[in-house]
């Protein structure tokens, strides 16, 4: 008999559900999404799972594999030799069906982020070294795995008080853009709630694009807020958070 992988896939909808076991023939280099496609094409055509690129470019296929938030198209089945692979939807967002969750909250938040407000017309004169600082943030594929992981959203459901790490990245992208003239610091301090983050770095750990969300975006943004609003306690905050003091001036070039 051909070798098989065993998957336990959460099936259900907003009213409830449970894990269902499926057996899938092994293939070299198979990723979890391949296994789910096998199930969908042969065993359960109504199995709901999002995907587009199957190459970790689009961020559609976020889910939780054996409890860890991951991209299904980038997670190899042979990482789980001999184990039953459990696949469940992201926990932080409401269920639509099976592995598909309602992520619309993220798109509402996106509208709250003021876009780039260039101080000069394009073409911009910009050196690679300045581009480097923000290009990292442009790698974000909006998989929302970081949102799924962040305890502020996952455990405390503070959707009305914190935009989440994805949108800290988005704000940082514009704030640190060398030609941007807008001021997003009040937004950060209030609606976006940057201070809700207590720098656990769990978001950075799950980011499939290896964006250093906490170090390179959130901490510098917190500093901008601290500079503006809490200057006297800034030193104390740094000591408590263990954050690395960074110069603000390089961002303002």
């Amino acid at each position: 008999m051909a070798e098989e992988f065993v998957l336990s896939v959460w099936r259900g909808d907003a009213s409830g559900g449970s894990e269902v076991e499926y057996r899938v023939p092994k293939e070299t280099g198979m990723v979890v999404l391949d296994a789910l496609h096998y199930i969908q094409h042969n065993l359960a055509p109504d199995l709901a799972v999002r995907w587009n690129c199957k190459a970790a470019h689009c961020g559609s296929c976020a889910a939780e594999v054996n409890g860890v938030p991951k991209l299904l198209c980038k997670t190899r089945m042979d990482d789980y030799q001999g184990e039953t692979v459990s696949v469940r939807p992201m926990k932080t967002f409401p269920i639509i069906k099976d592995l598909v969750t309602d992520v619309s909250w993220n798109y509402q938040v996106a509208k709250e982020v003021p876009p780039l407000a260039p101080t000069v017309p394009a073409p911009f004169h910009m050196m690679q070294i300045d581009a480097d600082r923000v290009q990292e943030f442009h790698r974000c594929i909006e998989c929302f795995l970081c949102q799924d992981t962040c305890h502020v959203l996952r455990n405390h459901q503070a959707f009305d008080r914190y935009f989440g790490p994805r949108f800290m990245i988005k704000i940082a992208e514009f704030e640190m853009h060398p030609k941007d003239g807008a001021d997003r610091v009040p937004l950060l301090a209030h609606e976006a709630g940057v201070n809700m983050c207590n720098v656990t770095k769990c978001c950075t750990e799950v980011c499939p694009q290896h964006i250093r969300i906490t170090d390179n975006a959130i901490i510098p943004l917190k500093e901008r807020v601290a500079d503006r609003y809490y200057d006297p306690v800034r030193l104390l905050w740094r000591r408590l958070s263990g954050a690395n003091p960074r110069s603000e001036t390089s961002a303002a070039t």
Partner: protein, 588 residues
């Protein structure tokens, strides 16, 4: 059938498709017009196929090669299209691309930079000069994300995961579109004064493909059924370098940027075989030529273990590779256990792009149905018989904008909402729900797999009259069998249900591809026929146009628009216009 209901929404303009072209069209349609505009997509916002584009967006800034200009971009595009392109589209495109790219920069895109602080441009196949603006190897992501954030701040309503199944035409003009919300399965009618189609291509009809699940040609098929003309359907681009191994990744794209950055192709005997096929341009020859060369090497028994060629970039060093091709590095490392900074890897042709599509007017992107506009991969005319790398992304911006403006102007002329035929809506709901009621029918995924097999074997890279004829019979049989497609489960987010209509669209377009491939009795660009191996001048003057009438496809020819003298002159120097100026300067 129990009484089905549907929601009705009214707009001035709806844009179907939220890829680069759809978002650009929506932004243009809404801009300063006070019109009510909606953009609709079958997946989430920011996930459209465009997100996968890697290599870059072509625009003749000449930031590195000063002699570049629109004339040379025009020249390269016409030549690669083997002169069956709509020259006027190419002209508009070449002239406007730089402005569209700069717009992106102003809206937040951050391209890689030259040492002087300008937008960096990389070389790409068959572009005379370094022309592709890029950000590493995720240019499509940059373009789409920038457009996405621009669109959500432009007062446009966005409908995500809403699939359109029918385009509505009333008394000869567009009336809107009908479909359903995927999350609930509830029906929705969008009434609109004008519709822009930006639904992308149909690369999913082939088995080995770089395309996402969305590329099922819905827009082209819907418009075709409603009476719109399709053109150049025989022209399907096979990208030379798709991943080959392991099986699960077969077809996933290896960006042309790898060759642009210096990657070399070898056969199993260690020979740089491009020497044999295009000694001048070598690895950076046009895609049709490189794809065919790899195919021929494999056929001649000089293929790699899994039937491809070797691509080697290791000589560039790890630091350079990781900086310029970070996505490729990561893709091979995680999916193929292979470090491209240390090892060569296997590549083989993969279906990539559909040059054919809805026939449109160059200036406005209007189709032959009043009120219906089309832009992006679903439209046709810019790329001719073979698309140049990087030309699609600029196509999306240039013609996305023009389609949006075209729709805006059409609406400004005072057209009202067209009538809706209730009986037609009733029939459509019945048709869409029918697969739930058919017991023991065929599985749509299996029909799709068989279609892909047929199209790959009968209408792929290598074609002949006989093979195409056999393919046509098989597609017609599959169409018959597909009438019995059935599915289980509920209407809530049901991919199997969705697949039924994807497959119906692909079956129709596959027939269109084969019918026009049979007519073109020569080899030109991507269309290679072993029974007519030469490119023949008498075929350079015609395009094949198809129309769906009374349930069957009729093929006709239309003359290729002739270039005016000042453009025709650009091809008389024996080399690219930019190179002519360059040598004149040197001499002078």
């Amino acid at each position: 059938m129990a009484q089905e209901t549907y929601e009705t929404l009214e707009y001035d303009i709806i844009v179907i498709g939220a890829g680069g072209s759809g978002l650009r069209a929506a932004v243009a349609a809404a801009e300063g017009s006070g019109l009510k505009v909606a953009v609709i997509s079958k997946s989430l916002l920011g996930k459209a196929h465009t997100v996968m584009a890697e290599g870059g967006v072509a625009a003749s800034f000449g930031n590195l090669d000063a002699p570049d200009g629109w004339e040379t971009h025009f020249y390269d595009t016409m030549r690669s299209g083997h002169f069956i392109n709509n020259y006027r589209m190419v002209e508009i495109f070449a002239k406007e691309a730089p402005d569209r790219v700069l717009e992106l920069e102003a809206w937040g895109a951050v391209f890689d930079r030259t040492p002087e602080g300008r937008i960096m441009q990389r070389p790409f196949g068959a572009h005379t000069f370094r022309r592709l603006c890029h950000i590493g190897d995720h240019t499509g992501l940059e373009l789409l994300r920038t457009m996405q954030y621009k669109a959500i701040h432009s007062g446009i309503d966005v409908y995500q995961e809403v699939t359109m199944t029918k385009l509505l035409v009333s008394h000869g003009r567009v009336a809107g579109a009908f479909g359903y919300f995927r999350a609930t399965g509830r029906f929705v009618l969008f009434r609109a004064r004008a519709v822009v189609l930006a639904t992308g291509g149909w690369g999913k009809v082939y088995k080995v493909t770089s395309n996402s699940w969305e590329s099922t040609g819905d827009g082209a098929a819907m418009a075709f059924r409603a009476g719109a003309d399709l053109m150049d359907m025989e022209m399907v681009q096979f990208h030379p370098t798709g991943m080959v191994w392991p099986p699960g990744v077969r077809g996933i794209l290896v960006t042309e940027g790898v060759r642009g950055e210096g990657g070399l192709l070898f056969n199993s005997e260690g020979e740089r075989f491009m020497q044999r096929y295009d000694p001048e341009r070598m690895e950076l020859s046009s895609r049709d030529v490189v794809a065919r060369s790899i195919f021929k090497e494999v056929q001649a028994g000089r293929g790699t273990p899994h039937g491809g060629a070797w691509l080697d970039i290791t000589h560039k060093g790890p630091e350079y590779i990781k900086r310029k091709l970070p996505g490729m590095y990561e893709q091979f490392l995680t999916l193929a256990d292979l470090d491209i900074t240390k090892e060569r890897f296997e590549v083989a042709p993969t279906c990539h792009y559909t040059m054919g599509g809805l026939r449109v007017e160059a200036e406005t992107c209007a189709t032959n149905i009043p009120g219906l506009f089309a832009a992006g991969e679903v439209a046709c005319g810019l790329h001719g018989a073979n698309r140049l790398g990087g030309n699609s992304l600029s196509d999306l911006l240039v013609f996305g904008r023009r389609a949006g403006m075209g729709a805006r102007e059409y609406v400004a002329n005072g057209v009202t909402l067209a009538d809706i035929d209730e009986a037609e809506i009733g029939q459509e709901m019945e048709r869409v729900l029918a697969p739930f009621g058919r017991e023991g029918g065929v599985n749509p995924y299996h029909i799709h797999e068989r279609l892909q097999e047929v199209m790959t074997n009968h209408a792929g890279i290598m074609r002949s009259g006989e093979i195409l004829e056999q393919g046509l019979q098989k597609v017609l049989e599959l169409q018959e069998e597909a009438r019995r497609m059935s599915i289980q489960g509920s209407r809530t987010y049901n991919p199997g249900w969705h697949a039924v209509f994807d497959v119906e669209n692909m079956l129709l377009l596959s027939e269109a591809i084969i019918r026009s491939a049979l007519e073109r009795k020569e080899s030109r660009g991507a269309h290679w026929r072993t029974d007519y191996p030469d490119e023949l001048p008498e075929w350079q003057t015609i395009n094949f146009v198809e129309r769906y009438e009374g349930g069957s496809i009729r093929v006709r020819t239309e003359p290729v628009k002739e270039m005016p003298e000042h453009l025709a002159k650009l091809f008389t120097y024996g080399k690219a216009p930019g190179l002519v100026q360059q040598s004149e300067k040197k001499e002078g």
